[in-house]
């Protein structure tokens, strides 16, 4: 795929010396839905604003279709933004808001009216054009903002935390709808969010940012199943990060934490203390004493606590390690019929070596410290 936008060694330092973006390089592909994901202050919004022209980088360049637009003002870039607060002009109707870009571009009255009507149909608000933003619901306001940003057929649509103003239900349906609109219009979307579920549902590729740098970039499954750093592993989905001792046991490499000993992939080849990473849903509860087969290793633990959250149960197991092992059990029956252990019961779990990863303990410790400070 050809790239539409290239960021070359982009840096932005704010007053007071805060490095918002630190030597960031990125290729965005034509037509993709790319999400910049990270906690607040990681530099994702600043990066987006540099693409939009609302901030200028202190170093590096922004190339759109091979043309250097680094220092172009927002009004001369074929890039449009959907703002976090929607930024609808309160003194204009929905129609006037949507048609604003066309009017500025000098498009005639009739074609403007036609295009605006087409946009209103697309966002499923036909006949609502004469309303003012204050007369629209939050969801409707968002649709108008989307239509306004798409009306000029931008090369790239930027979306700054588009769902943050919506309640949970609306958020879910808009995520799907926005995805559909992306597929229909064929425009490159670049979104910023701190919501990892949203990023995974909507994006073709996700770029996880941390402290102004790219931590990892890839498809949602790449990032979820093969996190390259502890930061990515922790940020996407739930995870266990347990300090463990790595040693050789016959032909195998094993990780030990408390009473738990699990086999790792043979080529992990390492020793010393590392952080053992396991996704809670990849740990299965198995009947006692049984061998799990398929190369999985088993371990036992005491149930410390159970948390019911509707479609699943979170089980905290004490295995005598520094922190409990968290297991997620999806429920396909009512809770009472699921045959779950009670608090204090000893249960056996199985986990496949493929689902295990090791990360540097120092890296994990630094990350935890950062989390605690935030």
């Amino acid at each position: 795929m050809t790239s539409i936008l290239e960021l070359h060694h982009l840096s932005k330092i704010f007053r007071g010396g805060v490095v918002a973006v630190d030597d960031l390089s990125l290729d965005i592909r034509e037509g993709e839905f790319l999400t910049m994901l990270g906690p607040s202050g990681c530099g994702k919004t600043t990066t987006l604003r540099m693409i939009g022209g609302f901030e200028y980088p202190d170093a590096g360049s922004v190339m759109l279709d091979g043309r250097d637009i680094t220092n172009d003002p927002p009004y001369s870039r074929p890039v449009n933004m959907m703002f976090q607060d929607f930024a609808l002009f309160p003194h204009m109707t929905a129609e006037e808001n949507i048609g604003y870009g066309l009017k500025i571009a000098g498009v005639g009255k009739t074609p403007t009216a036609e295009r605006v009507r087409a946009m209103l149909d697309m966002i499923e608000l036909p006949g609502m054009g004469a309303r003012f933003p204050s007369e629209l619901s939050v969801g409707q306001q968002q649709r108008v903002a989307l239509a306004r940003a798409l009306v000029n057929n931008p090369r790239i649509l930027l979306l700054d935390e588009p769902m943050s103003a919506l309640d949970a239900k609306l958020k879910e349906s808009m995520q799907v709808e926005l995805r559909h609109i992306h597929d229909r219009v064929g425009i490159t979307f670049v979104m910023v969010t701190h919501d990892q579920t949203e990023a995974m549902i909507m994006s073709d590729r996700i770029m996880v940012m941390h402290a102004g740098r790219i931590e990892q970039i890839g498809t949602p499954t790449d990032l979820y199943d093969h996190p390259r750093t502890a930061y990515v592993a922790e940020f996407l989905g739930a995870s266990n990060m347990i300090p463990a001792t790595i040693r050789r046991d016959g032909g195998d490499v094993v990780a030990c934490a408390g009473s738990m000993t699990v086999r790792l992939d043979r080529n992990t080849g390492d020793s010393g203390t590392r952080s053992l990473f396991m996704r809670p849903e990849k740990i299965r509860l198995v009947p006692r004493e049984s061998e799990a087969g398929d190369g999985s290793s088993t371990f036992s633990g005491t149930v410390k606590e159970l948390f019911f959250s509707g479609n699943m149960v979170r089980i905290d197991l004490d295995v005598g390690a520094e922190r409990p092992v968290i297991v997620h059990r999806q429920l396909d029956t009512e809770l009472a019929a699921a045959g779950l252990p009670g608090v204090g019961d000893i249960v056996t779990c199985a986990v496949n070596p493929e689902a295990l990863k090791l990360f540097d303990t120092a890296e994990v410790a630094a990350m935890k410290a950062e989390e605690a400070a935030a």
Binding site: P73, P74, Y75, H91
Partner: protein
């Protein structure tokens, strides 16, 4: 105690004072003025009556109409001048000054003359514009004129300048408040959609700051149409405003009924302006949401 009784008691314990104050120093005098405007003048005083003679005089004698027109004209000139001076200042404060401390300092600097006596501030302009004044000295020093000129002081221009200076804070404050309320994202959105700076100002910033502009105009227009100090201090001949005539009627001319009638006319004009501006603002507010 029943909740209703308690509510009433609470209400009146709070509002008896203000109600008394408002009634005795505002409402009663207005009613007295209205009543006296229908009295008949009987030198050296007046007798209670109900007749429209005083109002007829105001219409029949063209000098009153001239003064009224002049007052309206001066008030308009002051408002427009003040607006032209204040909008850029307020815009600069709201959008261009990045440091909060500097902004507060500049804002205070623009407002602080309000703490100085009106009379003193009006008088200052005498020392600036007069023939021995600062302006003349400066112009002679740089060599534009060779001897002091008297054209600066004692005319309507001097009045407009003086009042524009005095009423600037009343224009800056509401405009600044309305500009500050405009979300920055609206301005960014406009630029994002292709509108350069000036187009963005014309289509977004200016319309959204209109409530402030309107409030500023109402203040300055209302204050300057009733002004009678600057005509005395810097106005010179042919600068009488409606308030000067009112003052004369109550003083030297000893014609309270006519003065009251003029006062009522002035009051109606000011109330009309306030109502109109309120109506306009309401229309604007529907659009603003």
């Amino acid at each position: 105690m029943k909740p209703r009784t308690r509510r009433l008691l609470n209400f009146w314990s709070l509002f008896t004072g203000p109600a008394l104050w408002w009634g005795t120093v505002l409402l009663v005098p207005y009613l007295m003025m209205l009543a006296i405007s229908f009295y008949t003048r009987q030198f050296p005083f007046h007798v209670p009556d109900f007749q429209f003679g005083n109002y007829v005089t105001l219409i029949a004698d063209s000098q009153y109409f001239t003064v009224l027109l002049r007052s309206l004209w001066i008030a308009l000139a002051v408002s427009v001048t003040t607006f032209c001076l204040s909008y850029p200042l307020a815009y600069f404060l709201a959008f261009k000054v990045r440091s909060n401390r500097l902004r507060l300092f500049l804002y205070t600097a623009a407002i602080v003359p309000l703490w100085v006596s009106y009379l003193l501030r009006a008088y200052t302009w005498k020392t600036i514009l007069g023939s021995e004044g600062i302006l003349n000295s400066f112009l002679m020093w740089i060599g534009i004129i060779s001897e002091p000129s008297t054209i600066f002081l004692y005319n309507q221009g001097a009045m407009v300048v003086t009042m524009a200076y005095i009423f600037t804070p009343f224009m800056v404050m509401p405009i600044y408040a309305s500009l500050e309320k405009i979300p920055r994202s609206l301005i960014e959105a406009s630029k994002d959609l292709g509108a350069p700076r000036f187009t963005t100002f014309r289509k977004i910033t200016l319309p959204l700051s209109m409530p402030g502009v309107l409030a500023g105009f109402t203040f300055t227009f209302g204050l300057s149409i009733g002004d009678f100090i600057s005509p005395i201090l810097v106005g010179g001949p042919y600068s009488n405003m409606i308030a000067n005539v009112v003052a004369t009627q109550f003083g030297m001319a000893m014609n309270w009924p006519l003065g009251s009638a003029l006062g009522v006319v002035l009051l109606v004009i000011v109330l009309g302006i306030i109502t109109a501006s309120d109506k306009l603002e309401r229309i604007g507010r529907i659009n603003l949401g």
